[in-house]
Symmetry: C2
Subunit: 319 residues, 2 copies
């Protein structure tokens, strides 16, 4: 008798969200804990396991969990480890999948958050039925999950798919957290949009709604609100961001000729403000043989469920 | 009783080379015809088929051919067609695989020449045993064949893997045959090296062995010879070429985290002159999590056999 549920765990810098999911992608129940509360990984795993067990018991799911899927920054699918994740409190190499598996006696599979999002989108969302697509997550950073011929691309070491770190400006590029300069994510993440806002406001002299805010505190949400209110500079910030992302996507298409690019994450909520300039840049820059073939889609997963759903989809293949 | 041979056909702009290959990668016999002799595709297929049949009969291989594999520019694996190949004399959409299959009653598989080279290298060459690598062919243009998890990446339409058309210069890039500017192949192909030579000789004032040649006639081979003779400008041309290619490769690694990059084609024969600056640029530009993991290899296939071997490897999967 096959087990009807999986568990999805999404580990973010602030919150760890976990839930029980059925085969149709319904989140039966979910809960969360603070990721950064415990500086010792053992304490964190203890609390997470206790809370998850409580959730499983409360939902009559003991013995009914097929597998546990986990999405986390810098997580490696092959080794089950989380390795020096900048946004998490624990340093070094953490055998996370093994630690969780030991608590529950259930198979655990782990991958990075963008890969989990791609699997979630393929299983339950906008990429259902697609065998070749690229998921691009636009949050604090830019992540990606690449699906080729129905399979996630892990590469020889499990670290494939870091399209946020493709270099889009070879000279005078912005400094990136990775130690290099000019990475895509320094321009096209939520923080990249905020950096662009600060640059534009310094260089330009026109009035802008954004000038009512403290320049260091401006977020991509502020830029969005101003753009929707008709602010010229705010609109140009989205033009600039979309152009860079569209040019980069046109290059990505050369690699795997995907049927679709799926955008996910906070910045993707800007919708047409961002997708129109992306589409324009894609049309202008895509190689002739790919032209007009690759659709630009927005994630269809409900934001609040997406992280858990994505991770949970991995649980079905855990063994 | 399984059939012991495959046929490989490599269609180049000048010559079409074809041969009978056994399971260990020995080219039993081969021959060639001029590709451009026939402006009508039917006449070309007739001559190719007659010559191939003669070869099969002469080598007692009638009824012993498992499949025919073909590598050709702009060939599509899914449709079996050759579509508007700039270097071939026939325009439009040519159902090439079907045309050849109809002549022999043997399954035919076709793909572009760079993909065929990748399969050849995986089956018989430097990429034996590798499941994740990128083949980069450095000839008149720059082509690529990408292998992920042991499978060639075809994309949703069969056209994946055009890394020669990734944009490496967004502003003031060189005009490319594809109609855009700044493509990798305008810098890092054999013709790209010749263009760099012309640019360097015009801008710079130093003496150079290359100044003894007609500037429009300079080839990448001339630049190689001059560099080997210690010519400063010629050496700098390879530095320049290798740096651009190494930077591009560092970006490619973000995509599929390959175990190796395999270089193939005329320009790859420059060896250390090219690979040293490529390696330096890779080391400098590769994202930390991939650093030092991706080997740079040169094709191990004998140049004269490589094209036929690569195409023939496809013959094993023809059905």
């Amino acid at each position: 008798m096959s087990k009807p549920y999986v568990v999805g765990i999404d580990i973010g810098g602030t919150n760890t969200v976990f839930g029980i999911v059925d085969a149709r992608g319904n989140v039966i129940a979910s809960n969360s804990i603070k990721t950064a509360k415990h500086s010792k990984i053992e304490d964190y795993v203890n609390e997470l396991s206790a809370e998850l067990m409580r959730l499983i018991e409360a939902n009559d799911a003991v013995g009914k969990i097929h597998g546990i899927g986990i999405g986390a920054p810098n997580a490696n699918y092959f080794s089950g480890q989380i390795i020096d994740a900048a946004n998490l409190p624990w340093r070094g190499v953490i055998p996370f999948a093994d630690m969780v598996s030991a608590k529950f006696g259930i198979p655990v599979t782990i991958t990075n958050d963008a890969n989990a999002a791609a699997i979630g989108e393929m299983t339950y969302g906008a990429a259902r039925g697609l065998k070749d697509f690229i998921m691009i997550t636009l949050g604090t950073g830019v992540g990606s999950g690449i699906v080729v011929n129905g399979q996630l691309v892990y590469g020889h070491d499990g670290f494939a798919g870091e399209l946020g770190h493709v270099i889009v400006k070879r000279t005078n590029g912005r400094a990136c957290g990775c130690g290099r300069t000019g990475c895509l994510e320094t321009y096209c993440s939520a923080t990249g949009v905020a950096r662009t806002a600060r640059e534009f406001l310094e260089i330009r002299k026109e009035p802008s709604l954004l000038r009512n805010l403290q320049i260091e505190d401006i977020t991509s949400k502020d830029v969005y609100d101003a753009a929707m209110a008709g602010d010229k500079i705010a609109n140009e910030i989205f033009e600039y961001t979309g152009k860079i992302l569209g040019e980069a996507i046109a290059d990505f298409i050369n690699f795997s000729s995907p049927e679709a690019i799926v955008l996910f994450g906070g910045l993707a909520r800007a919708g047409e403000l961002l997708t129109r300039p992306i589409r324009e840049a894609m049309e202008k820059n895509t190689l002739f043989c790919y032209k007009g073939k690759t659709r630009l889609l927005l994630s269809e997963l409900k934001e609040s469920d997406a992280a858990v759903l994505g991770a949970s989809a991995l649980g079905w293949e855990a063994k």
